[in-house]
Symmetry: C2
Subunit: 342 residues, 2 copies
């Protein structure tokens, strides 16, 4: 444990073997007799030797590191996702860099390339990253994974997506099973927003499950934020419409929190008078009052898949994984059967 900078040379000298043998004994990439291996391992331990990953990266043109590029580092969902990616990455000794602010994309992309980052997960808005940037990354041998899956994706990029359509089905079936039929949807996005399939799923399953052709919903407007505040606004709007409803589904959990506030301010209790369902299962969902019934994307699993997609593509550019993670409905206490008089 000299002064913390033992090199392979020192180990070789102490063990009385060649430098090559040190590498091979430690990596196992070539057979080394037990005796020499022992001497090397002991010498390495004695000196507190760890291979210099920068030097290794220089030879291998690989750094064992990823980056997550996102424009919304404060979003609870993204954080959870980053956390789970990082956890999966660490099992293979990959480090994870975070790149917030999709504004400075050029700068990030240059850095990613110059630093020989092996793979990138593009969280945030997929439309914010241009084809030019994607090509630069891929041309420089960096694996790319998108947080979505579509047939129009570049054939060389991986994708892990969420199944909101199936999710909507789970939500509506849950509410139906509780006895609800007057269900409203609060959408942060309007019909013009491609990319958000939640509203379409809602419409579809209100028809398929409940036979309703004209379900209730309130839509947001540009810039399409899905915050607590927007949930409050949209729910207030819903209440003003005076159309009776016994359950509300929201674009995400934060909007659900806002909706609950609006209901309470109007003297309606949750789930007594109205059941509320969110989407995302963010950290607060479980210990909010009332705890929120919400659609989970199983983010831990999701993050693991993202890492796996990237990892496999790094090992073999031929493997381009495309995976849709099936959601799971987490039933908590914001949903209950409707009142009889409703």
């Amino acid at each position: 444990m000299l002064n913390g900078k033992a090199t392979r040379k020192d180990v070789a000298a102490l063990a009385g073997v060649s430098e090559a043998t040190v590498s091979f004994a430690l990596s196992g990439k070539r057979y080394v007799s037990d005796e020499l291996k022992n001497r090397v391992v002991n010498a390495a331990n004695e000196l507190g030797y760890y291979p210099d990953l920068i030097a290794r990266a220089m030879c291998e043109k690989r750094t064992n590191s990823l980056a997550v590029l996102t424009n919304d580092l404060e979003s609870p969902l993204q954080m959870k996702m980053i956390k789970s990616i990082e956890e999966a990455a660490m099992t293979k000794d990959f480090f994870v860099n975070i790149c917030g602010g999709t504004m400075k994309l050029d700068r990030y992309v240059n850095n990613l390339i110059s630093r020989h980052i092996d793979g990138v997960f593009l969280a945030g808005d997929p439309y914010a990253i241009t084809g030019k940037h994607m090509n630069m990354l891929i041309d420089n041998n960096i694996s790319v994974c998108l947080g979505t899956v579509s047939e129009f994706m570049d054939q060389r990029v991986c994708g892990v997506g969420m199944d909101f359509t199936e999710g909507m089905k789970l939500i509506i079936e849950h509410l139906k099973n509780l006895g609800h039929s007057k269900i409203a949807y609060l959408s942060a996005f309007d019909e013009n927003q491609k990319g958000d399939v939640r509203l379409a799923g809602f419409v579809r399953y209100m028809k398929e499950c409940l036979g309703q052709n004209d379900p209730m919903y309130v839509v947001g407007k540009p810039p399409y934020h899905s915050t607590v505040g927007v949930g409050y606004e949209l729910c207030s709007e819903l209440i003003r419409r005076k159309t009776p409803f016994t359950a509300i589904v929201c674009t995400n959990d934060m909007m659900a929190f806002g909706a609950i506030s609006a209901l309470q301010e109007n003297g309606l209790t949750v789930p007594g008078d109205v059941s509320v369902v969110g989407i995302d299962d963010i950290m607060f969902a479980k210990d909010f009052y009332p705890s929120l019934t919400t659609l989970s994307h199983r983010v831990e699993y999701f993050g693991g898949m993202v890492f796996r997609a990237l990892y496999e593509n790094i090992q073999d550019k031929g493997k381009v994984m495309r995976e849709i993670v099936e959601p799971e409905l987490i039933v908590r206490s914001s949903t209950a059967p409707p009142k009889h008089n409703s």
Copy 2:
């Protein structure tokens, strides 16, 4: 723009100069005549040349990268902090790695060293990181910054801390100015928890500002979580005590949200019947209903300071910055004058 891997050699060849001149022309570390410099710059542009940062790191024994070590990647406060550190870092082309899970500390520390990460910010619980790990980092020339400042800190580590004492003063003065005197504090921690100076600050300023020797407070118990749920519990306990109060201060914003829920469930409105103040100014504080009056640590500034402390220490191990960031009270709509009959 060959196939994305022009090297310095290529630039030198194209410009008709030596490789050394390429480096110097681009870095400006040595005078290069205007003519040669131009030829180099043009050649570099033409080839799409960017220096290989891994090769550079190998020479310089520096990677221009930091890591944030934290045990709670999902905490909104930490996220905001990481975001602001990353933003500051990017202004100097530093990359930021995230290391969640303080459990695998050995593994992270080894990686940090092997990868020649230049500096580390220890977010999370400072007591979770052992002296052994800190010494390993410092002995290996890695700068360390703690999210706290105390006189007992290792002389070689930087620190950027929050001034909760001053913060409590701001909070209590604000409530006093509104006309409150029956103020209660909901603490996630109890008196046994050193490190949390909020309760002490509360007691102190209830006396100094309001002349009260025995202020109301409810404390948490191990494992001392400060979640929405705990806020709800502690507030419920406060209500059960039947001691009249017109304002509540909470350990953090999440507890404040829980407290507000508990109040509302007991038929008390915020801020009509009770004013509530949080601490941290997390993302949700501003668009919660009601929007939360809370103590901001000015996290953007805080993160900038953390980066600066690390950056300066990296350049010069002699510079060990210790900075206390002064808080700021963000007055929103969860506080108002007390009712007359209270």
